[in-house]
Amino acid sequence: MDTAGDVLRQSLPAMDAGELHVLAVDDSHVDRKVIERLLRISSCKVTVVDSGTRALQYLGLDGEKSSIGLDSVKVNLIMTDYSMPGMTGYELLKKIKQESSVFREIPVVVMSSENILTRIDSCLEEGAEDFLLKPVKLSDVKRLTDFIMRGGEKKVEQRCQKRSRSDDCSSSLSTAFSLVSHPCDLSSSPVLSTLSPSAMSSKKSRL
């Protein structure tokens, strides 16, 4: 009998050879080139689009198809610029998080050149996984991809700004998350408590 865990594991894309597939969204040509390279160097598969509309199209969420099968989910992480003409990154974030399907489980990271606390807070409140200040650095991307690969969980406690991130692991975990990022986890029970002690401690020391 399938557990809810197994169902989710089947629906979300298994990472090819431990490779994250990242969808990057930015209206700036320069920034698209940079983020693509940052992600490729960090061993990710990358798809880059220039608008929120195109991102939704790529994900199959633009309402064009009548029935979106769960197997059409293709990405493990979405990184979006905040300020874009048309649909902002914030609006894209909201649209994804409002989905009543596996799509809302895809972590979304917002990038912005502007360090505006209210902006950061509203993104985090809408469910953004993280908020990165531009220009995004290699160390930012490495930290982020490591975090997602290790089965990053959503922090439900007080969210801090990027640079003053707390070290504490959130005690209430999104189990869907541990499932997303551990397709190779052979144990049938998907909760975090089954992780080895070393994985747990490395989680605590990161971020």
Binding site: S28, H29, V30, D31, R37, S113, K134, P135
Partner: protein
């Protein structure tokens, strides 16, 4: 002997250092260099070229927008924001700073200020463009001369 590349190599290092010392470039430029390797040997030139294209387009748009009878400050600000972003992404620090003050003038709906800022941004852009082109030329000459010694 490799005497033929020591001088040019030194020259390149000094020139690059001066660009940082004089504030034309900042740490982000170094970040871009980290992304360049044998598999992507022209990455920095490619990104900077995109920046040049972007900047020229935006400077044209800004000139046009400031030439209107009735100035749309929101549109103006949007263009400056874009230029601010791409200059920041390549480490063109002085252009980036000039854009910040341009945005302030937009916010204040200060036409005089905007005109001055546009002039300043244009000036900084043409400076950094010529310096980066010089830098790339030096790198090209060095790599042609040194073959296996090139970065």
């Amino acid at each position: 002997m490799d005497g033929g590349i020591i001088q040019p190599q030194r020259h390149l290092v000094d020139y690059t250092a001066s660009l940082f010392d004089e504030g034309f470039l900042d740490e982000q430029f170094n970040q871009l260099e980290l992304l360049q390797d044998e598999s992507n040997p022209d990455f920095v030139v490619e990104v900077v070229t995109l920046f040049f294209q972007d900047a020229e387009r935006l400077l044209d748009e800004l000139t046009k927008a400031l030439g209107q009878a009735s100035i749309d400050f929101k549109k103006l600000d949007a263009h400056v924001h874009q230029l601010k972003g791409s200059s920041s992404s390549v480490g063109a620090q002085r252009v980036h700073k000039a854009c910040i003050s341009f945005r302030n003038s937009c916010e204040e709906k200060n036409i005089e200020g905007c005109l001055k800022s546009l002039q300043q941004v244009r000036h900084e852009y043409s400076l950094v463009k010529s310096k980066l082109e010089t830098l790339f030329k030096m790198e090209q000459q060095l790599s042609a001369a040194s073959g296996s010694f090139s970065r």
